[in-house]
């Protein structure tokens, strides 16, 4: 028996601190963007084009991370871009999770014809190249926030469905599920009270991973100019613009890229950290 182990709280690991910290900063930045952004992200000033970041010669005070070829402030654009990135991450990530996990749970627990139909759909879905599929969808739906979210849900629910189905199947084979049934639980009740709590750590880990993926997909879509209107700041849009002038003004490309990289990394690390922490067996 434990007690010595169970009583004490484990310290939050480095991984959770760093990833959680970065995401908190990002959320705050997105919420307070109008207050803390030094400049208007849309304001162009062709006389101040391609200003370097603050530590290099020729920088202007107030343009902390420099400006792009149209003289727009890079830092302000990153801050405003965080808004779209996080909205997409949270909404698209959660919707994908709800759709995929529900289908996966039903397929894995009930099996039979429900499983056959869902699994066939997953197989067919996985045969499409996801990015092309997304681009095609946006082309049909028209650009805009809703279309991006729909596209991400449509291309990515299979990830959840597959993993959660497998997990639900292995949990269903456990004796405690049989015990619950013998004790008079309904099938649906068994699924909700016995299976769901045990696949939850996996769902959480997948959800945060999915949020990171949603950010990437949004960046890819804005890279090919299929995100929301072209002049509003997005990380993908900035990267695509910075690409054309990378030799003259590398900072236009590099800063949004670093932000994107750290954000996606933080999401996946947060998921792993939370899984370790909340899985009762691993804890």
């Amino acid at each position: 028996m434990r007690d010595a182990r169970g009583g004490e709280k484990r310290p939050i690991g480095m991984r959770l601190w760093l990833s959680g910290g970065w995401l908190t900063v990002l959320v705050l930045a997105a919420l307070c963007a109008p207050l803390i952004a030094p400049k208007d992200p849309l304001m162009q000033d062709l006389f101040l084009g391609r200003l370097p970041p603050f530590w290099m010669d020729g920088s202007e005070p107030g343009y902390f991370l420099g400006t792009d070829s149209l003289g727009r402030d890079v830092l302000s654009r990153i801050l405003y871009g965080a808004r779209l990135a996080l909205i997409v991450a949270v909404i698209a990530g959660s919707l994908t999770c709800i759709v995929g996990a529900t289908l996966g749970l039903v397929a894995g627990f009930y099996r039979g014809w429900a499983d056959r139909i869902i699994s066939r759909f997953v197989d067919i879905w996985m045969a499409f190249p996801p990015v092309l599929f997304a681009i095609l969808l946006i082309a049909v739906l028209g650009p805009g926030l809703t279309s991006i979210i729909i596209a991400i849900v449509v291309i990515d629910w299979t990830r959840f469905a597959r993993v959660i189905r497998a997990e639900a199947m292995s949990q269903s084979a456990m004796d405690y599920v049989a015990s619950a049934q013998v004790a008079g639980r309904t099938r649906f009740g068994t699924m909700m009270t016995e299976i769901l709590p045990n696949v939850l750590p996996t769902i959480v880990a997948l959800l945060t991973l999915e949020m990171g993926i949603a950010v990437i997909v949004e960046a890819i879509l804005s890279f090919v100019n299929l995100s929301i209107s072209t002049d509003s700041p997005t990380w993908g849009g900035m990267i695509s613009e910075g690409r054309t002038s990378v030799h003259q003004a590398w900072w236009v490309l590099v800063f949004p890229l670093i932000t994107l990289f750290l954000t996606v990394l933080s999401f996946s690390q947060l998921g792993e950290g939370l899984k370790d922490r909340f899985d009762p067996v691993l804890r």
Binding site: M1, R2, D175, A178, V182, G184, E194, V281
Partner: protein
């Protein structure tokens, strides 16, 4: 029907039609312990699963009757059947390591039965759960109630499963090789505990095992199973003195003895296997007609 649990000509088949249980009949009287022995794959556990309605998806009952407390379970709808089983029967599972929900504390897992089946209040169920844990000799019951399954040892978990099986005072308990997954030293304690609980609560017990030594200690009557067919039904005393079927006799002879620990083990002889195989084949021919 005589007996609390009475199985009549139960046949269970794979989807392909291959039989897993071949017209099994057996009776467990109220307050009696009935052993179910046989080698691996003989279908011992499947009988228990068929009664409790937890057969694997690939199997289904093709014919027969299962009478539990005067009701034929197979004539009931799924919902009614689940209710009937929940109210009258319980299971002590084989593997205590997977039989408790790992994401829930012990307390709710015991009390939920009482709340679900008997409709008790939470506090009353809590009180009863503490008593039950005390009955199965778990010290410091309050703390155990707050623990997660992975914090307890296998023997401890099996005690908890026994407690929760007896919780709602079922009339029948199916123990599916309850000691197989445990250490030999713990096995004896758990066996003694099951016997003790069975006597105190006066429950009918269907005891599935492959260990004849265990059967001799616990059971009143037994059925010997081979390839899903009952080859012998017997009273305990008579069985160990004079087994009737040659397979039963061979099985008894194969039991290792303490008196000669270095002696080689006796396998079931070839001609006996041939004999039962022939019986099984004859049964299949009769059944097909």
């Amino acid at each position: 029907m005589s007996g609390y649990l009475s199985i009549r000509n139960l046949t269970v088949c794979l989807k392909s039609g291959a039989p897993i249980l071949r017209s099994v009949s057996l009776t467990v009287s109220a307050g009696q312990v009935h052993g179910l022995v046989g080698e691996s794959g003989a279908g011992k556990s499947m009988i228990g699963k068929a009664v409790l309605g937890t057969l694997p998806r690939a199997l289904h009952v093709t014919s027969g009757e299962i009478w539990l407390d005067g009701v034929n379970l197979l004539s009931l709808s799924q919902t009614e059947r689940r209710k009937q089983i929940g109210a009258t029967a319980a299971l002590i599972p084989q593997d205590p390591l997977t039989a408790l929900n790992p994401s829930k504390r012990i307390g709710p897992q015991i009390t939920r039965r009482l709340v679900d089946i008997l409709g008790w209040s939470k506090t009353k169920a809590q009180q009863r759960a503490l008593e039950l844990l005390d009955e199965v000799h778990i010290p410091n019951a309050t703390r155990v109630m707050r623990s997660y399954p992975h914090e307890l040892s296998g023997g401890m978990r099996q005690r908890i499963l026994i407690a929760s099986a007896f919780a709602a005072e079922p009339k029948l308990i199916i123990a599916d090789e309850p000691t197989t997954a445990l250490d030999v030293t713990v096995q004896k304690q758990i066996l003694r505990l099951i016997a003790e609980m069975q006597q105190r609560h006066d429950t009918a017990l269907l005891f599935v095992t492959h260990d004849l030594g265990v059967v001799s200690k616990v059971c009143d009557t037994l059925s010997v199973l081979y390839a899903g067919k009952v080859v012998e039904d017997a009273q305990m005393n008579r069985f160990f003195m004079r087994p009737i079927h040659p397979y039963s006799a061979a099985l008894l002879a194969a039991t290792p003895t303490y008196t000669d620990p270095t002696g080689s083990l006796t396998p079931v002889p070839e001609h006996v296997i041939e004999y039962v195989e022939k019986e099984v084949a004859e049964h299949d021919v009769r059944a097909a007609r």
